[in-house]
């Protein structure tokens, strides 16, 4: 592809096909009778989407429909809990938890006969008036998709589908209409802040690295080392729409005067890595990466680097040290990467989700983006909803949406009638938000004010069965494991914090320990070298702030209300319910249960290891855990 004109012609040829799948575009015409979108993201892949695709192809061939029905293997739709997911257009009919056995019925009735198989569709879309489109469900109707706009709609392994949605038009516009400084100004005006965690204004970052264009080698890096446990936003973008990242990186390269990009991606994401490789190869083939892009004289290319499982490499200087082939230890700043970054050259590093918003900002303008969100946090944010919530999956909402809307409306609330206890954001660097703050509009500054942080967007919901001391210990164990060991506060301090937490969960803590824990947390925050260490105490500080009573109950009463901390539990048998069937005694691994047949049994709590095997085996609910 040598010119913008060629891109335009290609898009005009393709946009009907892709537009056919957009609910807001009702006029688009496809050469196919129907499109079937099959999710091929990690969630659905794990629940058997590959076998489904084979079965579908086979059935379509058998019924002679191959030429009429287009099957598109897309990235993630967001509702991972209902996978494997299949969407049929026109009408955006949403089939959930599809099994191989269901395929013949869907093909015969729906794809051939035009009649929706209503017992197989997502039941929330079934109304007395018929099956309603996906966009009207609770999960989708409050969402607004910018970074995820193509995820679940296009085939990520086909560059033409991306071009059909207007892909690479932003790069074309940038190279032909904008000066590099105008690009930076647009990004600044949009108000977008880094989606990776700390929320630094992206435009400022670019401006700092923009000096001496052409005079010095510079690098554009993409942080795709999504390490927060429970967060999978970036993975979904890479799996569902890899080209948007490539396009945005090229735009960034033009803005700061760089011709080389690196994507540092987790090796644990094999599907994402594979799709990125395909995307880079296709972009090169089409002249959208490489020399003289669109005949503008601008050169840009991208290489992949695989991370190897070190959480600290999400920190910018550590990531660069890792790309250089070293132990991924952070460096002191200043000098900031914009001055001295990768291979000691000026470098910018942005997160996947940040890049995914850039092409739309260029095409729709800074004002469009800044019209969404709150005063200091503009645009939309993707959250990975997980934990004790009904609609586990990916959601994208305007900044300023309340946690209540996300948890109760989009997320569908807590399953099994349990009570909400806290929402954890920001992963191991963030904190737990209690019910009293459910109505706070979510943005960078509000989350920090209530003791958590945005982080990359993981949002784990916890209910009354989760012990907050145990959760704090879980995160500290994570940081102890992942601390790179370079600075003392993080290497030794987090270990000491973990030990105190361990002591408390085992019932050996004192009130003094709680104070010591808090004091240590503040010291580490003040003195650690990098972001990992400075934020490591947050899970403890936020749980101390909102759930101090749980810590105190562990220490003073030796009680774990959520019944999680095993050492504090007592197992007893209710004599009135026990019929003496001996099932528990036979299954106890340490012979702690005694009694004769048909007589109530008893548990020797000195021998008991609290494994819970007896509770699982008792069919009469006679064993209690307190």
């Amino acid at each position: 592809m040598k010119s913008l004109e060629e891109l335009k012609l290609l898009r005009e040829r393709l946009e009907g096909e892709v537009g056919f799948r957009l609910e807001e575009n009702e006029t688009a015409v496809s050469t196919y009778k129907a499109h079937v979108l099959l999710c091929g993201g990690t969630g659905c892949h794990s629940s058997g989407a590959t076998k489904l695709a084979e079965a579908l192809d086979k059935e379509l061939a058998a019924q002679g429909l191959t030429k009429e029905i287009l099957v598109v293997k897309t990235g993630c739709h967001g509702l991972c809990a209902l996978g494997p997911i299949m969407i049929v257009h026109p009408g955006a009919v949403f089939y959930s938890m599809v099994k191989v056995e269901d395929i013949p019925e869907i093909v015969t009735k729906h794809l051939k006969g035009g009649e929706i198989v209503s017992h197989l569709v997502y039941q929330e879309t079934v109304t007395p008036e018929g099956v309603k489109p996906l966009k009207d469900t609770d999960f989708y109707n409050k969402q607004y998709r910018v970074a995820l706009r193509n995820c679940g709609i296009i085939d990520p392994e086909n560059i033409e589908e991306y071009i059909g949605t207007g892909g690479y038009a932003a790069l074309g516009k940038t190279l032909t209409e904008f000066t590099p400084d105008e690009v930076i100004q647009t990004i600044l005006d949009s108000g977008i802040r880094g989606r990776g965690g700390a929320g630094f204004p992206t435009g400022l970052k670019w401006r700092f690295a923009s000096g001496n264009r052409g005079g010095v080698q510079k690098y554009v890096c993409c942080n795709a080392d999504e390490g927060d446990p429970g967060a999978f936003m970036d993975r979904s973008v890479l799996e569902g729409d890899p080209h948007v990242v490539l396009e945005a990186m090229a735009i960034a390269g033009y803005a700061i005067g760089s011709n080389q990009g690196y994507i540092y991606v987790r090796a644990e994401y094999p599907i994402a890595v594979q799709r990125l490789e395909i995307a880079i190869a296709q972009a090169r083939e089409n002249g959208l990466l490489g020399k003289d892009i669109f005949g503008s004289g601008f050169d840009f290319d991208i290489d992949l680097r695989l991370g190897a499982g070190a959480f600290v490499c999400g920190e910018e200087t550590a990531l660069m040290t890792s790309i250089e082939g070293n132990r991924g230890e952070p460096r002191t700043r200043p000098p900031f990467p914009a001055i001295k970054g990768l291979f000691e050259k000026p470098t910018i590093l942005n997160n996947v989700e940040t890049y995914a918003s850039i092409p739309r900002i260029i095409l729709n303008g800074a004002e469009w983006f800044s019209s969404m969100g709150t005063e200091k946090s503009k645009g939309t944010k993707v959250f990975a909803l997980g934990g004790k919530i009904k609609n586990i999956g990916l959601v994208e909402v305007p900044m300023g949406t309340t946690l209540r809307t996300i948890v109760e409306e989009i997320g569908g609330g807590i399953p099994n009638g349990k009570k909400f206890k806290a929402a954890q954001t920001g992963g191991p660097s963030g904190g737990c938000i209690p019910a009293e703050h459910l109505d706070v509009p979510i943005d960078y500054d509000n989350l920090i004010a209530i003791g958590s942080m945005m982080g990359s967007g993981g949002l784990i919901v916890m209910d009354e069965d989760n012990c907050m001391v145990d959760i704090a210990k879980f995160f500290l164990e994570f940081t102890v494991d992942e601390s790179c060991g370079k600075c003392t506060p993080c290497r030794i301090g987090t270990k000491r914090m973990y030990e105190i937490l361990d002591k408390i969960t085992k019932g050996n803590g004192t009130l003094e320990d709680i104070d010591k824990l808090e004091e240590l947390a503040y010291y580490i925050k003040e003195s650690a070298l990098c972001g990992l260490g400075q934020t490591a105490p947050n899970p403890v500080l936020s749980t101390l702030r909102y759930f101090r009573h749980e810590y105190e109950a562990h220490v003073l009463e030796g009680k774990c209300e959520a019944k999680v901390c095993k050492d504090l539990l007592q197992f007893t048998i209710d004599e009135s319910k026990c019929i003496g069937c001996t099932a528990c005694a036979r299954n106890c691994p340490v012979n702690a249960i005694s009694g004769t047949v048909k007589q109530p049994h008893t548990i020797d709590n000195d021998k008991c290891i609290k494994c819970g095997a007896c509770i699982e085996k008792c069919r009469f609910g006679a064993i209690e855990r307190r």
């Binding site: 990690t42 969630g43 629940s47 991972c80 680097r305 991370g307 190897a308 879980f474 790179c484």
Partner: protein, 163 residues
């Protein structure tokens, strides 16, 4: 390390040639060590001291640096993995849904601790951080198969599939 249950190194000449060819291909690149170690692990399945020495000699990089990098990243294994690599996700979403108990059950069942391999080389067990299949939490992976929405009771059935 010595106390871990493991099996001895048995690299072949072909594997060595393969590794050397991979090194020759990338040697000139900036920051090539990580991709080369990843390739070496792909070839041998793990990075024992013998393989690290080979890379060190062939690339003329001090052993201390190779060992430093190999031990820094959790993806690099210094001891061999089993034919079936069992990994339990201990990411937050899985943890709050009880993957800790599943991990414990697997340790008892297989008779090994996390990071170890059964003496017959069949199973190795690890805890891993978020595989991104949070919709299926709690999740256990056996090689590339994902088993989701598990309870402690499912563990025996899953392991039996591979025995």
């Amino acid at each position: 390390m010595d106390t871990k249950k493991t099996i001895p190194f048995s690299g072949t000449k072909e594997q060595e040639e393969q590794l050397k060819a991979a090194i020759d291909e990338r040697k000139a690149e900036k920051g090539a060590l990580m991709p080369i170690l990843q390739k070496a692990q792909e070839i041998y399945g793990y990075l024992p001291i013998e393989v690290q020495t080979l890379i060190s000699d062939y690339m003329e990089i001090p052993m201390e640096k190779i060992y430093g990098v190999a031990t820094f990243y959790s993806q690099f294994n210094l001891s061999p993995k089993g034919k079936y690599r069992v990994s339990v996700c201990l990411g937050t979403a899985c943890y709050v849904k009880g993957s800790g108990d599943i991990y414990e059950k697997l340790q008892t069942l297989l008779g090994i601790k996390g990071g170890e391999c059964t003496p017959d080389g069949k199973f190795s067990l690890d805890a891993c951080r978020c595989v991104g299949a949070c919709g299926l939490a709690p999740v256990v992976m056996v090689n590339d198969d994902v088993h989701g929405k598990l309870t402690v009771d499912d563990v025996e059935r899953i392991i039996a599939q591979y025995q």
